[in-house]
Structure formats: structure tokens, C-alpha cells
Assembly symmetry: C2
Homo-oligomer: 198 residues x 2
């Protein structure tokens, strides 16, 4: 049984959250378990009451995030058939996620390569799935004459990285909310494929 009100609020959730913060700040290899422990005001070995290994922390973070991205994408695009409509909503949720889940995005983008095999390949496969799905929307839009772009692959890369970049500067306590950022960036994305909103 989990203690009702532990004296110090350390749990697998808080360990993961602290790891997330530090991994995002200093990278997986740049973060020592002792730093996570220190942030939680606990000795390093005590962490093992809440996790099984450092690698598992990374695995959990990447897994949840990558699956979340795919789930977002499916929910945002299902039922929509118009390329502009599909791209708009796919980019909107993707951009929004990078404002609301900054740390996760930074860790996934920087440290997926630090995952051990075979998990690393599995995760990269899932990321590629999202990548291809987005590119497909653009290809379809070009075929349908909705988008104007030389290379769907190039545009797809550009749009994805555009969204990812939000995680690198966005501040929760800043003057601009996630929805607003997402909408602005979606506008940028549509500009890239030659769709003007205004």
C-alpha cells in the first residue's frame, strides 16, 4: 500500500517528473541520478524504491511522448478528408503539444539516440510513422492542387521542425498561451505549403 501522506512527497511520479526536468535541461548523459536525488532531497539509492534504472526513466518518457503524438495526430485528422483541413489540425495539435509538453519534446528530440536497443529502434519507427503520415497529407494536398511546394519531403521536415522548435523558447509563464502559439505556428506551416489564411 502506498502511504497516505508520505512525509516527503517522493513517488515514481515525482521521480519521473524531476528526471524529465533535468534531462531536458542537461541531457540524459549530462544528468546524474545523484542530481535527481538531490532535487528531491533524498539520497541516490533511495530512488530505486521508485524506479528500476536510469534507462527506464528515459524509456518511459520517450514512450509516453511518442505515443501521445501519434494519438493526437489520429484524433485530429480522423474524419477529415480535405488536405488543408487535415494539415491544419495535424499541425495545430503537434505545435500545441510542443508548448504544453516542452520538456518531453526536448528529451525525445535530443536523447532518443541514448535509448538502448531494441527499444530505440521501436521508438524511431513510431516517430517515422508520424513523419510519414504528415508527409502524406502534404503529398495528397499537392496532388489535389491545394498546396504549392517543390518537395513534400522538404516541406514536411520544415513544418515538423518548426513545431519542435516551439519547445526551445516557449515559456509557460510568458504572455502568450499554448493555443495562441499553436495557431501562429500553424499559420507559418500553411504559408510554407503556399496556403494563405488571411
Amino acid at each position: 500500500m502506498t502511504r497516505a501522506t508520505p512525509r516527503n512527497a517522493v513517488s515514481s511520479r515525482t521521480v519521473l517528473d524531476t528526471a524529465l526536468t533535468l534531462f531536458a535541461e542537461r541531457g540524459y548523459h549530462g544528468t546524474a541520478l545523484s542530481q535527481i536525488a538531490e532535487a528531491l532531497e533524498v539520497r541516490t539509492p533511495s530512488l530505486y524504491n521508485h524506479m528500476t534504472s536510469k534507462q527506464e526513466l528515459l524509456r518511459t518518457i520517450v514512450d509516453a511522448t511518442v505515443r501521445g503524438v501519434l494519438a493526437d495526430f489520429r484524433q485530429a485528422t480522423e474524419g477529415r478528408t480535405e488536405p488543408v483541413d487535415r494539415l491544419f489540425h495535424a499541425v495545430l495539435v503537434y505545435a500545441r503539444r510542443h508548448a504544453t509538453h516542452r520538456r518531453e519534446a526536448i528529451v525525445v528530440n535530443r536523447d532518443t539516440s541514448s535509448l538502448e536497443e531494441p527499444f530505440r529502434s521501436q521508438m524511431q519507427e513510431l516517430r517515422r510513422e508520424h513523419e510519414h503520415a504528415l508527409r502524406q497529407i502534404i503529398s495528397d494536398g499537392v496532388t489535389a492542387g491545394r498546396f504549392t511546394v517543390d518537395s513534400p519531403a522538404l516541406a514536411s521536415f520544415a513544418i515538423r521542425e518548426l513545431c519542435v522548435s516551439i519547445a526551445r523558447w516557449y515559456q509557460d509563464d510568458g504572455p502568450i498561451g499554448p493555443d495562441q502559439v499553436a495557431r501562429e505556428y500553424t499559420e507559418f506551416a500553411l504559408s510554407i505549403v503556399g496556403v494563405g489564411i488571411r
Copy 2:
């Protein structure tokens, strides 16, 4: 004197180059000197004949790259006054550099935070200089009525990260050259600030 034709071609240049490749691949903290040595088919301590510390390798890489970016920028924009013209050339050289200097770009973006003080602050100051200069061009363009964008800061971030992202997928041996990529991405950038080329 440097030996004319050393049996094994190890030099400060090759050490730096190998470090660059590995840092870009696995990150600064994720790369051990032993790995650099192994790639050069040499024992780890032998590296110290060509460098003074691991940290110095990173310092050299970041310093050269950041100063190169600023030099590029100045050369590309000096003498130009038209906002569209200035932005076009500033983005063109910045984008191009990310195709021709992929590894450097990846290392600077991921591992500048691993630099020790006070060098880290100095480098970040220089990066900020480029950032502000680019933003200024956009602000000026908005004032002059050449660009259409809600927030110059947002657009500036977006354009910069767009260029940086080239380093993450570009392949030298691919079907598309640096100039072509740079031109495409510059077009994307101009779309973002509401300037159509075609």
C-alpha cells in the same frame, strides 16, 4: 616541426574532426575520449599530444562556428538596406551553412550548455547577437510594410530554427545540393513573413 608524412595521419585537425563527428552523433557527454581515440586507431592518452582537454575540443568547435555564423551574416547583409533583400541574404547564408556544416550546427545547438563558464556565457552572448540582428531585420521590414507578421520575435525564432533543422536531415551525398536546399528554405522563411517569391 610537424612531421612531413606521419605514419598514421593523426593531428590536431583530425582529432578535432573526429570529435566533431562523434559529438554530433552522441553528444558531448555521450562521447568518451576513448571513442575518439578508437576511431583514430590510437590509445586514449595519445590524444593529449594534439589537444589539451576534452572541454577544449568543444570550445574550439563552438567558438569557430558561432563566429562563422556572425561573419557570414555581416558579409551577407552589409551594403544592403532593403528589408526583403537583407532577410533573403541573411537567411540564405544561414541556411546554407547548416547544410555545409551539419555537425557543427548540431553540436552548437545541443552542447553549448555543456561549456564551462565563463566561456558558455560568452558564446551565448554571440549567439544572441545573431538572433537580435535577424529579428531587427524583420522588425524593420514590418515597420516598412514589407513583411506581414504578428510577432517579429515569433517569426524570427521560427525562421532560425527552420534553418537549424536542415542540419538534422541533410545528407551530403543526397540528391540535393546545399545551394538548392538553402534557396528552398529561404523561400519558406520569406513565406513566413508574408513575402511570396513566385
